[in-house]
């Protein structure tokens, strides 16, 4: 389960906020009411491929891919491809009157630099959208496009493309396992007071392709993780931000873990995903999460390395970022970058930190 | 010895060719004494006076003023010489038209840093200018203007006064009165006086009289 839900709305609300404006305040504004938007309900079963597409009656939604890659040159890379949808009002209209706003974020992380790009578009004009059958999510010349064989899930095989001022990538994603429904059959709780979202993932991608950074092309391969989530009122009013992990264990298992920070102890949730896609929710009390190293990033202090302990799974690992300064200096800035971990288990993953 | 000229020569170019107007003049003026310089029109009296006043340079020869060689002075030194050492009185009165009589009289003294109100008052009384102090030059008669010009020079108490026909524009009676005044006051001020005149009657009243003829001094 994934607290990124909150991000998209923040993007719109703070599009105009000046940089340096108290970020935690900006995130705190997410606790607003749903205002005519639909609210996720426990027990509604997700159906595919239609739920791969957009849900314009919900306020926010995204298609979120992170990839841990290794180049032929032996270097590690991270790649991010995200399309956010954020509605000013529920529903769609044709032309410029459409209330949907689309936001694309793309990034490539190397061990010494973070390359980012951001795209904005309004709906209704075809500049950005998500279509199903065949599946394609796009904004401008960025695309996430299905080339899955007939009969397979549309998200099984994807082509992923994005570019920015000094980077570009083109990746092929092939899934080695099933879609994973997060939370309670896709209904993911975000706070003790009941805020929730629909949330499913495809964490089993094998990725391969080409990354071009500052004019140099590198053939890469590795693993990737897709999150799909939509909601209308994801954060409780006292929640200020989150720390979110997606981990690929070397043995093929996966772990999704997040902590929503608030003025008290916070809300922690995790989901253990076996290599066949079977999931086990881990309760808040069974997880111990603590920062082990702080770094100064973009004028703030962020915990870039963490110790994660889940005694029930005999897990005690410490994460380290590929690059401390994996800062997304987009209109709403946050930290998002590839990590590695070691301890009782080893592997790679992604860390996202917002609201600092 | 305040002023000493030796072998001073001066040539002018005119449309009719060059004229050597001074052909080796020797002249000595002792401190506090007065000398009359006479001669015919065009004999070079005024030229000699201009040279002595630092208004012009000689072609050759030496002009010693208090032991300093005038002919080698720069423009700035000559200006200072005129300001501090010399007082000039011309046939034309050369008053500053925009200043009133009082300001004209004290003008040179102020320039020479020798402004002395008491001495000035004495001068004004003796020159009979008291009732004209607030008038402007154009409101005065010729004799009055010349008295102002003399007053201006005397007020500055220069070591050397050079006067070029100062009474030339005045009638005889006025001229005599003005000259008397100038002589006696120059004595009081301790100034030497070189007076150019073509009148031997006036010349006789000075300590010494010299004649400029053929470009040379003839006693």
């Amino acid at each position: 389960m994934n607290a990124k839900v909150l991000l998209a709305i923040v993007l719109v609300l703070t599009l105009t906020a000046s940089i340096g404006h108290s970020q935690s305040n900006g995130f705190a504004r997410l606790g607003s009411s749903a205002q005519g938007f639909k609210i996720p309900e426990r027990g509604r079963s997700l159906s595919f491929p239609s739920d791969h597409g957009a849900h314009p009656d919900y306020r926010i939604e995204w298609w979120y891919v992170t990839a841990n890659l290794e180049g032929e040159d032996g270097a590690r890379y991270g790649a991010q491809w995200t399309l956010f949808r954020s509605a000013l009002a529920p529903g769609v209209a044709s032309g410029f009157a459409d209330p949907q706003i689309w936001i694309g974020h793309a990034a490539v992380t190397t061990k010494s630099r973070q390359y980012i790009a951001e795209r904005l578009s309004r709906g209704g004009v075809g500049q950005a959208n998500v279509a199903t059958n065949p599946f394609e999510a796009w904004i401008d010349d960025w695309t996430m496009k299905s080339f899955a064989r007939a009969g397979a899930d549309e998200l099984d095989e994807l082509l992923l493309r994005a570019n920015g001022r000094d980077f570009r990538y083109s990746l092929t994603l092939r899934s080695k396992g099933p879609l994973v429904l997060q939370g309670d059959r896709g209904y993911s709780l975000k706070s003790a007071s009941g805020q929730a979202s629909y949330y499913y993932s495809q964490p089993f991608y094998q990725a391969s392709g080409v990354i071009k950074v500052e004019g140099v092309e590198v053939v890469v391969s590795g693993q990737a993780w897709l999150d799909r989530e939509w909601s209308s009122q994801p954060l409780a009013s006292n929640q200020t931000g989150w720390d979110w992990f997606s981990l690929h264990f070397d043995n093929g298992e996966k772990l999704m873990l997040f902590r929503l920070r608030d003025n008290k102890d916070g809300f922690i949730s995790a989901n253990w995903i076996a290599d066949d896609g079977k999931t086990t929710l881990i309760s808040q009390n069974d997880i111990h999460l603590e920062p082990v190293r702080q770094a100064a990033v973009a004028g703030r202090t962020l915990p870039v390395a963490w110790r994660i302990q889940i005694p029930a799974y005999s897990l005690d690992i410490t994460t380290r970022p590929l690059f401390d300064q994996a800062w997304m200096a987009t209109k709403t800035p946050y930290w998002e970058g590839p990590i590695g971990f070691s301890g009782t288990a080893t592997g790679v993953g992604y860390l996202e930190m917002t609201g600092y | 010895m305040i002023l000493s000229l030796s072998n001073v020569r001066k040539t002018y170019s005119t449309t009719e060719g060059t004229i050597e107007i001074l052909k080796g003049v020797d002249l000595v003026l002792p401190e506090g004494k007065s000398v009359a310089l006479t001669g015919e029109s065009g004999s070079g009296k005024s030229t000699l006076l201009h040279l002595a006043g630092g208004l012009d340079h000689p072609d050759s020869g030496s002009l010693l003023m208090s032991g300093q060689e005038l002919s080698t002075f720069s423009e700035r030194e000559r200006a200072n010489y005129r300001r501090y050492q010399v007082g000039l009185v011309f046939q034309q009165f050369n008053l500053i038209p925009s200043l009133d009589v009082a300001a004209n009289i004290s003008f040179h003294a102020k320039l020479a840093d020798r402004h002395d109100p008491d001495w000035e008052r004495t001068l004004i009384e003796r020159l009979g200018l008291r009732s004209y102090l607030t008038r402007y030059p154009e409101q005065l008669s010729g004799g009055q203007q010349q008295r102002v010009a003399i007053g201006r020079t005397l007020a500055a108490r220069p070591p050397l006064i050079l006067a070029d026909e100062p009474t030339g524009n005045l009638d005889e009676a006025t001229g005599d009165a003005v000259l008397d005044l100038m002589l006696s006051m120059a004595k009081d001020a301790g100034s030497a006086l070189l007076l150019v005149t073509h009148s031997s009657r006036l010349a006789d009243r000075l300590d010494r009289k010299v004649l400029l003829q053929g470009g040379r001094i003839v006693e």
């Binding site: 001022r165 | 300001r83 500053i96 038209p97």
Partner: protein, 802 residues
Amino acid sequence: MNFTAFEALLSHWRRRPLQLLTLVTGIALATALWSGVQAINAEARASYQRAASVLEQGALRQVVAKNGNGISIKTYAKLRRGGWDVSPVIEGLYRFGPVRIKLIGIEPLTMPQEGQIGSITTAADLPDFLSERGQLVVSADTALKLRGRTDMTIKVSDQVPEDAAILDISAADRLLRVKGKISRLVVAPEQRADVAPVERISPDVLVQESADRPDVSRLTDSFHLNLTAFGHLSFLVGLIIVYSAAGLTFEQRRGTFRTLRSLGISLPALTTMLVIELVTLALLSGFLGIILGYFLASTLMPGVATSLRSVYGATVSGALSIRSEWWVIGLLIALVGTAISSAQSLWRVWKLPLLAAAQPRAWVRASTKSVLLQSAVGCVLLALAMILGITSAGLVSGFGTLGCLLLGAALLLPGVLVIILSLAEPMSRAALSQWFWADTRLQLPGLSLALMALLLALSANIGVGTMVSSFRLTFIGWLDQRLAAELYVTAKDEDEAKRLREWLPRYSAAVLPIWSVEANIRGEHMQIFGVADHSTYRDHWPLIVADRYAWDMVALGKGALINEQLWRRGDAELGETIPMPGEWEATVVGVYSDYGNPSGQVIIGIDPLVAHYPDVPKLRYGIRVPPAEVPSLRQRLVTEFGLSEAAIIDQATLKQQSRAVFEQTFSVTGALNVLTLAIAGFAVFSSLLTLSGIRLPQLAPLWAMGIKRRNLALYEVFRTLALWLATFITAVPVGLSLAWVLLAIVNVEAFGWRLPMTIFPHDWLWLGAVALIAALMSVFVPVWRLATINPADLLRIFADER
């Protein structure tokens, strides 16, 4: 004690306050005119810049539709998906009640941050801007006009030009009812390197470089060139005053200079004092001049703003802001002007021999050689003017012609006057009249500068006056023909328009639709009008050139009429077919005059207009009705039909409004014209005053020989009148040449119109009378002085050496 000497120098001014006044006035006027005109230009340019950067994102490239029909949303999406960073704009004119506003609908999410608009929208509260209710970002003035006329929220920004509003593209789409037709796409300066060419992605659009678009600042260049030319002319005239005043003061103080030097003030010290004196005077007068210039500019600015708006469609604020650079530039100009006009006098002081006698007349004595040289230069300039005038194509060479013409004529003037006077002299036999001519010739060098100034001012007046009057005559005549309908009505919406079309024919002779669409033709934004096939047009519309069956062709939908601007620009020729928006073509069958319009215009038949552009707003109508019935129809329209009074305008009012716009256009030129003439009059006055001060020695012998003072004074008056007359006569041909250049070269370039030149001798009489009064006034003080002079003063001439 150099201070004492300095005081003595300055004491001159206490004795000659009038001279001080002349000098100060000269510098102040020159500075005022210069800085005033510069201020107007700077203010207007700032407005254009604001307009260009905000309205058109002037610095950025644009994508436009080839056929002028607008760009579809589909094309926009294709370009975006092809990697082009472009942002859509929907714009057009919209009426909020009686207030016409240019709407600029932008898409804030994709708008490049490089343009002005980027910063406007970032600063705006985006949720409000994008909200369904909509938000208008406007200037403070426009906000006032819109109060109570819209439900949209209004936000004030000083970056938005007058009469324009920035709003979200969806709101603009809705208000302008363009159904997603995008007017243009703004191209971000930075683009992906490997992006495919625009035409390959979508063949119906093309990229327009920023330089390709006609921009308002280029259009208005001519207007500013005009102002600048007047500013420079006045500056020149002002300098002439300073020159003569400075020359006089230096000459009069020559004796003082000499005395000071003989009293031991060195030449460098004296020169330094004079320079300090001049600099102080220049700074003080410059300061005065800048204040004067500011008031001048702020008085003229509203007129300038109005004419720029009406003639060029440029939005310029009528308010003037004080700019700090003015003070610097104004004072600098005062210093430079003073330096130029007193350099000669200073040089003379520097070269002044210590023993030379004062020659008060020396400075007015110009050698024959210099008059000859001056005349030769004048001839060369006139020849150059002629060559430029014949070969001239551009605006700059047009103004070059003007400059050469004026300067050449001015330089030639003294030579011409000398010749006239030399001819007059032997013709007069009486001793006194011989003296009169000889003496006048002697005075000439001292007066020639002032006379040159007068010539410049008079020629400019005649030239500009002829141009404006010719224009007025043509314009009014054209207006009478063109505004043929007796009443003009505007419906508030299509429903009311429909009812009008049904109601009106019952009460009128004819109802003529006045419908237009805005479109791009050959890359230029212009209006396409439709006309009904009615005798009103056939009889009243003046065509400059036309096919025989022009109106029939138009009615048939095959022909189009284009306005003179479009034709003169060479964008279309008679008989040529032009591609019309909506994929059809029309043949140019005639050209009509269209004064007061900055852009091109096309007229087609009303039926083809509706056929090709079914969405054309059908709101405006001209109504033909016997003149006697106008009031009753008007009444009926309001009471019976229910049309609002504001929606009806009669011919007379419309004509009056058009004339007011016209008069406004030239009011600035007129004001500058009058000012220039006034300054030239002052130059003559100061020169005469100057001369009168040194005239006494010349007149005293005549007086001694038995000429009465009164007669001497009369001679002075005659002399002034003779010189004035000669100058005025010279000014007529120069002024007419000037008018020809303005009408035949400058106007065609600047406005796109050529007008027939008409001569107005009555105007010259009036101008001559004004100049005569100025001449008489200028001679009055010196003559009065002469006539009342104390004989004792004349006597003293003989007593004093001068």
